[in-house]
Symmetry: C2
Subunit: 408 residues, 2 copies
């Protein structure tokens, strides 16, 4: 049972409003959830992750912060390492099954993930479970029982399946198993509440249904809004390159936050900081009325984010760095250096390759995009083609606003 | 390797025509099949059965006779006891999964089935395998690998799935597993040829594809025509009640064969007897020209069938019985007796109930149908309602043409 102090907090109207409304799209079924939350029994809050993708970005943080709020009210997170569903992959339309990760890779990836996860979520109120605990011994008979409970039509009604089916894009039969396995996780850990983005609603509801069919009390579903990436438009995702990783250096987090369109200042502040509601409302009024420079509010947001994932000192330093380099237009004092290859190698080298080697771009594709966007400079001169003409020791190579090296 | 004598037989044009054409709808791919058949290596001829349905009727016999012909040419039948697919059931639109049979039931049913199977198929050239040999240890990883090779759209293109999907009838996800498991059987036993009715073509082709994907030489598919039942219209099936079981008493087989519409004399003779092609052609001409009473040809067919599943003596006796009872309109000498219940019980009893008790109908539903069709007589008087009025000791109760009891 939860302590009286926690129960008092849980029953506090302000706390409940923050937990149930802020950064939440929908709760299915809200009234049942509140009843369970206030019932006095610590709830089991299900959160799964795919160990083939180990980076946590702000898009994930929206939900993880919600978990932390609920932990602070005495509830327990059950973190599921999706070492089986990772082999299938939630449908992306590209490949039906992924190469099987080795047990060693899964362990390494899980460790990488958890190091980030526990920056937000309280490790002491978390139970970690591996899907292999229940799927390792899963038999064909278990698969038959599981698949017999749902119809093909039910699953093809899911938005992404429906559109792919209509467009004659292949859907492997395996992909129908994905929601079923995720649903069975809820049964295996006796989940009280599952958390996911609004695009996960179907999967969460299958879990809810399956628990009911298997004699458990159906879980509540907590649907989080999808956070737009730094482009302000598309859902934040690593593959789109519009993400802010919570494990990135302070200067990166700060700089990327400053690159957000102004329209994202309020949603980011609401979903990702503890700035109180009244203040956010004041920010809204000030922005609407033009009485504040959005840059100032964005700097506050950037500081809040760096403070959260590093600390206050790092936030202040990142702000100074930003003001010096980007706002001042200058170059930083502590510029990294990159050693040029021998002249004969350099002569046959594309600039895009050099940008990758110097860690100014993550791929040749990104490098070429930066060049074509005019975002690459050599000693302050914009470069327009993918050539290393003009490159020599001593010059500063710059990609975008915030990445530099001095070539040596 | 097959003996020279067998190879000579296999290469005989007349033999090949009989094996490849008579009672065969389609061979996929015929040229490859002939090449393999004549290659000198005994082929593995896959034949599966569902141990939840143990009765072999003439519809099955068409394929089993083909197996026997190929055995006589030196090839080997691999009989698969479908103890796993039986749990799913090939889609009928009614129920997605069947109750799991106990291991004991499966053994009993398999024994019942095989006692009939080996009336046609040569036991010495048969290897019996159980699906549980490979599916008993089938893991979730195996299921994932298997399901990743085919798409939902491929499977929904199968006729029965397509029409059910279109009609919004439920298709359990499990049902998509059925063709996959049957296909995996081909891999497990390294099938060279699989046999099935034309309605099984999809499943057989999935087996062929899967073998290719898994590095085996794809099996050939031998598609048998679907035999109409005794109504001459619908596919013979136990559930439709239009079947002739190969294990039925001689009089039943004979009588049911005599009830066939004339249109079935030639197909039945072609698919189910060894009457040579030339004679069948003569029968066709005689029927077309009206130079023969179809009854005579049907009697020959009935004799051939009883001889096959009992013996010649039984066939002659069944013919005499038929002539005496049905053709003569009389009642048989050796009429079975049925003891009436006490008068007070009888008074409150429906006639349909009495028909079931006297084994003249298999269910009250069938009994009521017989009554409403005017097929029930008491001492030669047609009965029109479901009442036991007129029933008393000494009278003959008759249902249809060939079932009688004397009430005592």
């Amino acid at each position: 049972m939860l302590s009286d102090a926690l129960l008092d907090a849980i029953r506090d109207e302000g706390v409940m409003r923050r937990v149930l409304k802020r950064g939440v799209s929908e709760i299915i079924v809200e009234s049942e959830f509140v009843e369970r939350l206030q019932g006095g029994r610590p709830l089991r809050l299900k959160m799964g992750f795919d160990p083939s993708a180990t980076d946590i970005h702000l898009g994930h943080a929206v939900g993880l912060r919600k978990l932390r709020q609920l932990q602070d009210l005495g509830h327990k997170v059950v973190l599921i390492v999706g070492d089986w569903t990772a082999q299938i992959g939630d449908p992306s339309g590209r490949s039906a099954t992924r190469p099987m990760l080795t047990a060693e890779q899964v362990r390494e990836n899980a460790a990488t993930y958890m190091a980030q996860f526990f920056k937000i979520v309280d490790r002491d109120r978390t139970e970690t479970r591996w899907q292999s605990e229940w799927f390792g011994d899963f038999s064909l008979a278990d698969v038959i029982r599981l698949t017999s409970r749902f119809t093909v039509a039910q699953f093809l009604a899911r938005d992404d399946f429906a559109s792919r089916f209509k467009a004659n894009q292949p859907i492997a039969i395996t992909e129908l198993l994905y929601p079923l396995l995720q649903a069975y996780d809820s049964v295996a850990i006796e989940s009280d509440v599952e958390f996911g983005g609004t695009d996960q609603m179907f999967n969460l509801l299958v879990g809810r249904d399956l628990q009911g069919m298997m004699g458990q009390t159906p879980q509540q579903c907590f649907l989080m809004p999808l956070l737009p990436g730094t482009d302000g438009v598309q859902k934040m995702s690593k593959s789109l390159g519009n993400y802010i990783g919570i494990d990135e250096p302070a200067n990166e987090i700060y700089g990327k936050a400053m690159s957000l369109p102004d329209s994202q200042i309020l949603p980011y502040s609401e979903y990702l900081t503890d700035v109180v509601d009244d203040e956010i409302e004041e920010m809204r009024l000030a922005l609407d009325g033009g009485s504040v420079n959005p840059m100032e509010l964005k700097k506050r947001l950037a500081r809040e984010l760096v403070t959260q994932f590093h600390d206050l000192e790092a936030a202040r330093e990142a702000e100074r760095h930003f003001e010096r380099t980007v706002q001042g237009g200058g170059v930083p004092e502590d510029m990294p250096e990159h050693a040029l290859p021998p002249a004969e190698t350099l002569a046959g080298m594309r600039l895009s390759r050099l940008l990758v080697d110097a860690a100014l771009a993550s791929s040749a594709g990104e490098a070429r995009r930066l060049i074509s966007q005019g975002a690459v400079q050599i000693d302050g001169e914009r470069v327009s083609d993918d050539s290393t003409a003009g490159v020599k020791a001593g010059v500063v190579l710059r990609a975008g606003r915030r990445r530099y090296v001095r070539l040596v």
